[in-house]
């Protein structure tokens, strides 16, 4: 069977070629060529409009991040809030619950491919005694609570304006997944990256529900098995990608600036609370349920876990 996959990123975002392509290839091999996937990117549908065409069956599959469609459902954002590897995610029941929620929109959750290295903030100057005090930092709403907690002022700018804004100093920093500074060449205009990073980046693979239901049981089982295996392998691939990126960044003169002191223990919790609170603005009941599951399993990122 042929599947059309839509991706939220073009190939300059390394995970498309480094993680998604091997996953597609694995499905194809293990199905003896029965599952064939071709992908198209944001030139076909802009990143923030992609959920709808997949749930309507214009495309069969989607590779994206939960925050890219939180105006339709914020359930995918919770995947970035929790601190869990794929096994914990499944064991805690969160994976199943998120799948259930996506199914109400006509989508089947196929896989959650985690970059456990999460998010970071790149900076023009190293952190000061008071973390980000007085600095303007670009970030989407999910980052705002954390930027504010660290004393910074969040600035709303489209991703395309990050490079020139850092270059000219419109902003002094920008929040983004740890993967990205190489592809977008921000090392040309910023010299520091804040560590530790925070959260984890959930790349979800979704399938149109009708398409899924129409598959024979054998294919469904195959896809579920391969996805389950690949979720764990993806973590290592992402770690390799990040390690390579950090190497490149170091050779381009980018340095790590460590967050220390009173701010350090606040990050995990602030990130979790911030992401969950934002998500709850869209789907209050569903998010309350994910919170309950996460707290039960101790996946909230709070200090002392």
């Amino acid at each position: 069977e042929d599947f059309r996959m839509l991706t939220g990123w073009d190939t300059s975002y390394a995970p498309v070629t480094a993680v998604l392509d091997p996953f597609m290839q694995r499905l194809q091999e293990e199905s003896d060529g029965n599952v064939n996937i071709t992908r198209s990117g944001p030139e076909t549908i802009p990143p923030f409009e992609q959920l709808d065409p997949v749930s309507r069956g214009l495309f069969d599959m989607l590779f994206t991040n939960g925050a890219y469609h939180y105006n339709e459902t914020s359930i995918g954002m919770t995947l970035d809030a929790v601190s869990a590897d794929p096994t914990q995610l499944r064991e805690s029941g969160i994976w199943g619950y998120v799948d259930e929620q996506y199914q109400t929109l006509g989508l089947k959750l196929v896989a959650v491919l985690y970059d456990m290295n999460g998010y970071n903030i790149i900076l023009k100057e190293p952190l000061g005694d008071n973390a980000l005090e007085g600095r303007r930092v670009r970030g989407t709403p999910i980052y705002h609570p954390l930027i504010e907690k660290l004393g910074g002022a969040p600035v709303v700018l489209p991703a395309s304006e990050i490079y020139p804004s850092l270059e000219r100093g419109v902003v002094e920093g920008a929040a983004w997944p740890t993967v990205g500074a190489v592809g977008f060449r921000w090392f040309e205009v910023a010299d520091y990256m804040m560590r530790p990073s925070f959260g984890q980046v959930g790349h979800v693979v979704l399938m149109n529900l009708d398409r899924w239901n129409a598959l024979d049981d054998e294919t469904k089982e195959l896809i579920e098995r391969v996805a389950g295996e690949f979720e764990m392998e993806a973590i290592d691939i992402f770690n390799d990608v990040v390690a390579k990126e950090e190497e490149t960044l170091a050779s381009e003169g980018m340095q790590v600036t460590e967050l220390e002191g009173e701010f350090l223990p606040l990050i995990g919790e602030t990130w979790y609370e911030g992401a969950m609170t934002l998500a709850a603005e869209q789907n209050a009941e569903a998010i309350a349920e994910v919170r309950r599951l996460a707290e039960e399993a101790g996946l909230t990122g709070a200090e002392g876990e």
């Binding site: 073009d10 190939t11 300059s12 071709t38 198209s40 990117g41 944001p42 030139e43 076909t44 549908i45 802009p46 923030f48 409009e49 709808d52 065409p53 309507r56 069956g57 214009l58 700018l157 489209p158 395309s160 304006e161 490079y163 020139p164 804004s165 270059e167 000219r168 100093g169 419109v170 592809g183 977008f184 060449r185 040309e188």
Partner: protein, 436 residues
Amino acid sequence: MLEGIPAVATGIGLLLGLMMLGLPVFIAFLLVNLIAIGIMLGPAGYGMFVNSIYETTTTGSLVTIPMFILMGEILFRSNAVNVLFHSIDTIVGKVRGRQYVLIVLLATIFSTLSGAAMGVAAMLSRSLLPAMIARGYDPKLSIGNILAGASLAPLIPPSVLAIIVGTLAGVSISGLLIAGILPGLFFASLFLAYTFIRVWLNPKLAPADDGLVSTPSTRDVVMALVRLIPFSIVILSVMGLILMGIATPTEAGAMGVLGALITAAIYRKFSLGLIVESVLASASISAMILIIMATSKLFSQLLAFTGGATALTQMVAGLDLSPWLMLLVLMGLPFILCMFIDQIALMLIMVPIYIPIVSSLGFDPLWFWLLFLVNITVGGMTPPFGYTLFAVKSGWKEGALSTVFSAAWPFVLLFVFGMVVLAVFPAMVTFLPSLL
């Protein structure tokens, strides 16, 4: 279902046919999109249809288009353009055709600041062009210089297109921008040389200098410079705010509008009437441009959806030709396609496919991608389809699009000639970055 290269050919053919029948450009796009959605996608494509229009018309960076047009409207109504001409007359003196230098310069400066050749082309054809024509300058030569100057924008920072090419192709963005300096100057001098040769061959293309003080006194020159100050406020408020990192290029456009209002006040033209007339006129012109962009964006998405643009690129990339012929086809394809496909969508489709060929052919990446960058901008001013062409027409109410088209051709040829020179002498591109 129509797929691949035939789908692209059908779509473009239908589009051209509808446009040639005299349908409004945005309607031609709309109709092809509707037919494509009706045939290929059905109701599942409806969301894609409306969301594409929504997405384009809420794109923050496109706000520079109305902002720069508004700036031009205010300057135009506050007599700034005449003051500018007069000062140039006094300072430069009797150089026949001197205002062509002004127009190409302003086109380059403003479009590089705005990052949107469309906004600036519309602005200058509303404000500067009528003044040029009124003074006896040749409409076509003036329009050609506006188009050409505006098309230099991606070579000069700030440049959104350079950032995108750098990101997709993995080449240094700052390197690309430095590499663009010499070619930029080279193109500018090509345009000026062409213009002055034309004026020299046919003096009627520029007005005679009756009534101009032959040798202005020092006092005249000083006064002329002083009178330029208010106008400089506008350029400085835009450029300064961007360079000092106070405002993004988009915001700087709005600040330029404030600068223009100050200029109007200094020239004692400031009034509520001026503001009302200016915003109404700007809203109309920017709507003309943005509705075309919105509908053509969806056309690009549909072409991407059929896989045809990718197939075409892969076909060209798979050709087995000598490096020079390869360069020719690798550049020829985007030159033609960018007449119909949105520049950014085009880059997303083509750049990843081109990367391996560029390295296997042993081309210098900076050199290749700089040529690519020039190439896709020139597409915007090559008839019969180009955003910059339509923008000029939107601003120039009195004129005909056919005049704009014939004004564009010589400058398109100059660009092509310039690119050939850059291709033959790659050092013009690679020399400055090599000093880094």
